[in-house]
């Protein structure tokens, strides 16, 4: 009987490992098969240049999506990242025009993002208003602020050295791609290996239990919205640098791409689940599809439809998987 039990457990383990592996690979498999398909249909797809282009095009959405991932794991949502991107970019642009040093202007832009996130977090955790509502409000406020600051006119004439952040390369790799992967490493580590990261998961899995286990729920919630804001701020700086111009209309609708990337990557809107690595893959799925469909000269409107369909399919797969687990 004991032997039976042991083999039973072993079988369970190996079975678990296979399903785990499939689960882990799930999103990546999607990305790879998409890549294979595009390679078959277009000879321009699988080239170093094009892959770097995809990475560059994906980097801004990926950076936003990482912050959003933190938020979604706590079972929150952040609709304001696209607008925060704009206001942060505008702040950086204006600071540069005012003659402030580049590093300070960048910090001001990122700080602006952090401030917006802080406001989101404080309102959500102190006044107990649903994150959907608060960040919807911030979406409008931040966009409005960007318009007020610029009068809806582009801020151009930025110093040439500043263009390095968004447009430069180290070796052949674009700087935003390097920033994206560095941040992914850091944010992934924080989520997995720190107390703060664990609190985020516990909070999302069961807020009541987290509270009764002594987790500082307020602080943790504020923390994730600040991080989301900081990421959006940084994305705004990169975007401004790439265009060498700050625009109050920048990043319009990007919050949806960012949320889509996180969801496709396996973040559960119910909270408690999600990984930075997979969010990055989710962002790449969106980026790759845009690029591939462009190469195949399929117009942008169809791309919208395809992305919408993928979101629903991804969430459906996730739901089925969860149902099987329980």
């Amino acid at each position: 009987m004991i032997i039976g039990a042991i083999t039973g457990i072993k079988e369970m383990k190996s079975k678990l490992n296979i399903t785990n592996l499939l689960n882990e690979l799930g999103v990546l498999l999607g990305l790879i098969s998409m890549g294979v398909l595009f390679s078959i249909f277009s000879k321009h797809f699988f080239t170093v240049n094009n892959l770097l282009t995809i990475a560059l095009q994906t980097s801004i959405i990926a950076i936003l999506a990482m912050g959003v991932t933190y938020v979604i794991i706590t079972s929150g949502i952040d609709l304001s990242v696209g607008s925060i991107l704009a206001v942060s970019g505008v702040v950086t642009g204006k600071a540069l025009l005012a003659g402030l040093p580049i590093w300070l202007s960048i910090l001001l832009g990122i700080g602006m993002g952090g401030l917006c996130g802080l406001i989101n977090g404080v309102i959500i955790s102190n006044f107990k208003i649903a994150p959907f509502i608060v960040t919807l409000g911030m979406m409008s406020i931040a966009r409005g602020a960007a318009n007020v600051i610029t009068g809806a006119m582009p801020v151009s004439g930025l110093p040439q050295q500043f263009a390095f952040v968004g447009g430069g390369r180290i070796g052949i790799v674009p700087v935003p791609v390097i920033i994206m992967f560095t941040l992914a490493a850091i944010l992934g580590y924080v989520l997995k290996r720190t107390s703060f990261g664990r609190y985020i998961y516990c909070l999302g899995s069961n807020e009541e239990a987290a509270l009764l286990s002594g987790v500082n729920v307020k602080k943790t919630k504020i923390g994730v919205y600040v991080i989301s804001g900081l990421m959006a701020g940084l994305a705004g700086v990169i975007m401004t640098s790439r265009l060498v111009s700050a625009q109050s209309a920048a990043g319009l609708g990007y919050e949806l791409d960012a949320i889509a990337a996180a969801i496709i990557g396996g973040c559960s809107p119910l909270g408690g689940a999600g990984k930075i690595r997979e969010t990055i893959i989710g962002a790449f799925i969106i980026g790759t599809m845009r690029n591939g469909l462009n190469l195949l000269s399929i117009n942008a409107f169809w791309q919208q439809i395809a992305i919408g369909a993928i979101i629903i399919i991804a969430v459906y797969i996730d739901t089925v998987r969860r149902r099987k687990e329980s």
Binding site: K13, R193, T194, S195, G214
Partner: protein, 498 residues
Amino acid sequence: MKELLRMEGIEKSFPGVKALSNVNIDVRAGELHALLGENGAGKSTLMKVLAGVYKKDNGKIYIKGEEIEDLNTELSQKLGISIIYQEFNLFPDLSVAENIFIRREPKNSVLNFVIDDRKLNKQTEEILSKLHLNIKPKTLVKNLSVAEQQMVEIAKALSMNAEILVMDEPTAALTESEIVELFKVIKELKQKGVGIIYISHRLEELEEIADRVTILRDGKYIKTVNYKDTTVDQIITAMVGRDLEDKFPPYEVKNINKSKILLNVKKLTAKNKLNIEDFKLYKGEILGIYGLVGAGRTEFAKVLFGKDKCDDFEVYIQGERAEIKSPIDAINYGLGYLTEDRKKDGLALNLSVEYNINLPSLDKIATNGIIDRQKAKMSAEKYIDALKIKTPGMFQLAKNLSGGNQQKIIIAKWLMKNSKIIIFDEPTRGIDVGAKYEVYELMIALAKKGVGVIMISSELPEIIGISDRVVIMREGRFTGELEREELKEKSILSYAIK
């Protein structure tokens, strides 16, 4: 009198628990049949079988003499069975009339998908006046008092031509005068020939309305008697009498040093809900808090633990005045809390055993916020071994473990945190007998190490089985205190029931 309902030899099991075995009850037209038993005796389960919510495993149900094989909720309603649960099934934002006729609204004679509001309100008025109720059909339910809402439930049942009416603790939330009104309605219903099954903990109120009494205990049928042929004492004895052997670890007499007060609640009040004075917990004792559902035990625990707000809070922990404003404060003062509903607020079910065990103690295994994975694994392993938590591994998700093992994860949390006072709220609810025994052993071992254990429980046997001292709560205050030697089920119940 005509027999309306007969349930014979009803059996029902849930995984790991036999909820009903061989239970009988019958109801005649125009009688009030009281269904009595402690919490967990099987009353609600039996009524859910009658409602068609649960399927019986075995037994027979006859309604008006006809055997009904497959009872479901729809059929049950069609056959004239109506159940008024403690938690009402009303829509607060709809009107009284809309609630009473939900899904059966009278329709316009021409456009048969349009609700005829005039007819709806008129029919409602008729029903309400039959019950002599002064409620307007158009009033929104959320604007009614609890008693009025209950009347709406009764009116709804009558509108469906209910012949068998089940009332689960109908007086629990009513004031004295509202109860008088309710009893008037009940008497009228009896005269109309409705058969009523009446579940209540307030034995004294049966005097006025009960015809017969059926008593359940531990899911078993004990007896059915005419109310006038029995006494409250006999009823209580039938409700509790049982042998406790083997269910609990043998009791060891302890010398509790009453100068070592761990917790001293001088005054703790919360508006209308709690009024507690002079509550003491000594080092190394297991203190049972008994009370019926709604007596305020969990509310007390949650206020003490900083989860819920209160008005007065004068609490001393190990002689020191404690300011507890959040669970974080409580935990820092050495408190630990096993909640009543581990799935709702005890565990992060989608996370691993290791995550859950270490959650309150991350400061012990992390430096500068970065977790030492080796330490995390070691501590999880230590408690999985010590508490014999049955799991394929520490990375298994908490939701995949059995109830008893989930409970042990939560105990492990507070052991790891080194809590000095641990509140166990219904620690053995929904776990099997073997696991219960292990949980008792753990509590006893904790007390031996000097931890102050507070056990909130609705199960008298476990209160008597392992407590060193028992306090009884009713309506938000402590109504009695008994030392180990004085513990008798009857005396405890008499403090809890009035």
